[in-house]
């Protein structure tokens, strides 16, 4: 679909995909301005998250295919390759020090998912 930009507050909001392109309680990858971004539709918590798609451990483009869940109350995603888990809120690696992923602001309006860059 067309990438449209909305300028409101401090972010540039890029339309990523329709809501139903991301499975409930799962993830999907979008290509936005040449960048691979993983979107997570955390239906169970009523929350959406966006991170880079690349796992910093072995530079694999796979986080969007990982399972999401929680550690305590912290929402997380597990890389399918070697099960490194990352906080969806802060991007911090939860089971191995020294790794970090980038997270992005995300919002849903009129059935469309937007990512802030």
């Amino acid at each position: 679909m067309e990438v449209t930009a909305i300028h409101k507050d401090k972010y540039t909001w890029l339309a990523a995909c329709p809501v139903n392109s991301v499975p409930e309680d799962g993830g999907a990858c979008v290509l936005l301005n040449g960048q691979q971004i993983a979107l997570f539709n955390f239906t169970r918590r009523g929350e959406w998250y966006a991170t880079t798609n690349e796992c910093p451990h072995r530079q694999q483009m796979a986080l969007s295919r990982g399972m999401i869940g929680s550690l305590g109350n912290e929402p997380k995603v597990a890389c399918p390759f070697h099960k490194k888990t990352f906080s969806l809120k802060t991007g911090e690696c939860l089971n191995d020090e020294g790794y970090q992923i980038t997270t992005f602001p995300i919002k849903v309006e009129d059935g469309v998912v937007y990512v802030g860059v």
Binding site: M1, A78, P80, T85
Partner: protein, 839 residues
Amino acid sequence: MITNKKSNVVVIGNGMVGYKFCEKLIAKDKNSERFALTVFGEEPRVAYDRVHLSAYFDGKTAEDLTMAPLDWYIDNGIQLYLSDPVVDIDRERKQIRSHHGVVVPYDYLILATGSGAFVPPLSGVEKDGVFVYRTIEDLDLIQSHARRARKGAVLGGGLLGLEAAKALLDLGLEEAHVVEFAPRLMPRQLDDAGSGVLQRQLESLGLHIHLAKSTQEITGDDAITGMQFTDGSFLEVDMLVISAGIRPRDELARLSGLETHPRGGIVVDNFLQTSDPSIFAIGECAVAHHMIYGLVAPGYEMAEVVAARMMGDEKEFKPYDMSTKLKLIGTDVGSFGNPFATEPECRTVVYENRAKGVYKRINISADGKELLGGILVGDADQYNMLLQTCKNKTILPPNSEDLILGSRGGEEAGAGVMSLPDDAIICSCEAITKAMLCHEIGENGNDTIDLLKKATKACTGCGGCTPMVKDIIQGVQKEKGVYVRNILCEHFDFTRQELFDLVKINGLKTYTSVLNTFGKGDGCEVCKPATASILASLWNENILAKDRAPIQDSNDRFLANIQRGGTYSVVPRIAGGEISPEKLIVLGQVAQKYGLYTKITGGQRIDLFGAHVGDLPKIWEELIVAGFESGHAYGKSLRTVKSCVGTTWCRYGVQDSVTFAIELENRYKGLRSPHKLKSGVSGCTRECAEAQSKDFGLIATDKGWNVYVCGNGGTKPQHAQLLVSDVDKDTAVKLLDRFLMFYVKTADPLARTATWLNKMEGGITYLKAVVVDDVLGIGAELERELQLIVDTYACEWKEVVENPDLRKRFSHFVNEPEVKDPTVQFEPLRNQVKAREWA
């Protein structure tokens, strides 16, 4: 302070059962809000432990035997009258009058008058030197008379009579005799052979035993001089203790017009209620279920039933088990269930060791599955285990003689106390279950016998349960220290096996419903695939349908194996490793078209590597048209059944191994399991298919097939073990069905069959017992459950290829479905490609 609101409860009798009733009612009636208790006792002292009366001669004092001191009655507000028997019950006015003239009104009257010694109507029983064995006062009299006596006899060779005979020996008499009317000792508990062993033990200690002796009269002028028997013989004694049974104390009830039994005892219903609804009878004075229960444990249970019902709880006195175990003059004696059951209703196993004075008998149901009862003399260590096995109708191991002989070689037979069900009664006096003890030990730290006595009252009655309680303490501590209960993760406080059963029982089919019903939090990468596996093993619905796609591990989610670089590999099923030239050509063509690297796998099939996620449905569409189906190389499920060519080509083969391998692979394909399953079928003993390194393997013999289970390669190679030999194909399949489903249902997540077996208590012996001998009686159910998987099998890839919604999920970018992941790069390798190295 008695207020008008409280109901008056009067207890007549302050023996063990009468006391126990007070204790139970006070425990239930917090702060004595509802009931005011008055107790009348005939004896001069408060209730004491009559079961251990003989200990009085061993130096225990009356205080030692006391159930609870006088202060206890005062502290709990009980009005206690001792040495004051009740002489009249006025049922019209609902009040009683005591010997000393105390009149007390009652709302509930509890008769716990117990029993007295039964004295047979013999001429001479009134003579000096003739005693009964019932109260501390009786013992005082016996003790003082024994000082000037030389020869003593006990009339009655039952439980109490033998105790009395021991007392005579202890009191220093030169001769102690036991005279029994029946042809054997302890006629209610022992058979002739058991009695014989016991008799030899007792005789070796100096007791003289006279069986089948009918006493005619007791001779002497004022004092006893001897016993004259009907067979003409005579025994010279100067003291006699009569222990010929008990006589229920029902005279007060009879005077009051309550219904009594013609042979003695107050008749009560299942709720211990007499013919007057305000009056109850408990203990040895009551006739319940047409009998007198002459043991303390059922008496306590009666006390519990009445106390509970007064508090409004539903409770009923059920026919009570009369099993007993005791130590008689150093000899253990146990008798449980139906000790006398005989053929044809049962099979009897007997072990007798005269040199050691040991006799054991167990009666097993004709089908060999249940323990009906038994007798133990000389060694009763197994009493509690056997009693519980009998009561719980536990299914017996195939070598049931091991129950009394112990395991002879091989692994331990059966299992210890920890294998008993949670609701098994360990302390029958106080009705304490295994679960209650485990809870006290594990949760409340009451991990010694003394602490448990305080916390639960276990071991405080007959003490027979003490060894078993010790075993439970050890068992729980072992579990705490060595074995950690493998709960799935922070979201589920259950083991995989528990969750499996819960999901099944509740018919749950989605992850969300499982998490909502049994879990907490939002799930994780551990419980999601574990639940996915359980759902697949149970219902066999497509693993990507409903909410199940995002809970699958990465391979299952895309029905392919994720490889370096984020591409996937494709493995179609090639059952038994057999493939036609036409299909080989198709594989080559597909690999060429999509630029895939090809390799023969360890499981005799062909793996196509380097597929983009978006190409997977197209690749599979072409493969399915050519007759291929999913090989489940991505799943924790059956991988391959490897085979050698067997009789079809090999000059050594003795069976058709390829055909059997194909049949097995097609039967078990799609079965989701805790970990991957590999198999092999060899056509002869040379074992070219390496079946003994597989989760299940078959090796042909000239008579049929040998079935091996629980082997694997991997980090810790382990040989498979022989499950059964020389069986035909149908039997092999039936046993494999059971084996696989048992594994699927009970293994921890990601435990291969070898690990599962290594952790299993009883090892391969137990596994054989379950799978081959069906000792748990679950064989048919396991077969049914596996058949459901066979019947509902569908190729997952075919379903995805034909379903546009599922197919849509196979793209790298959801907003650019046609764009492939630009980071995927290959390097050349021997005329093919390989994934780029990790960075």
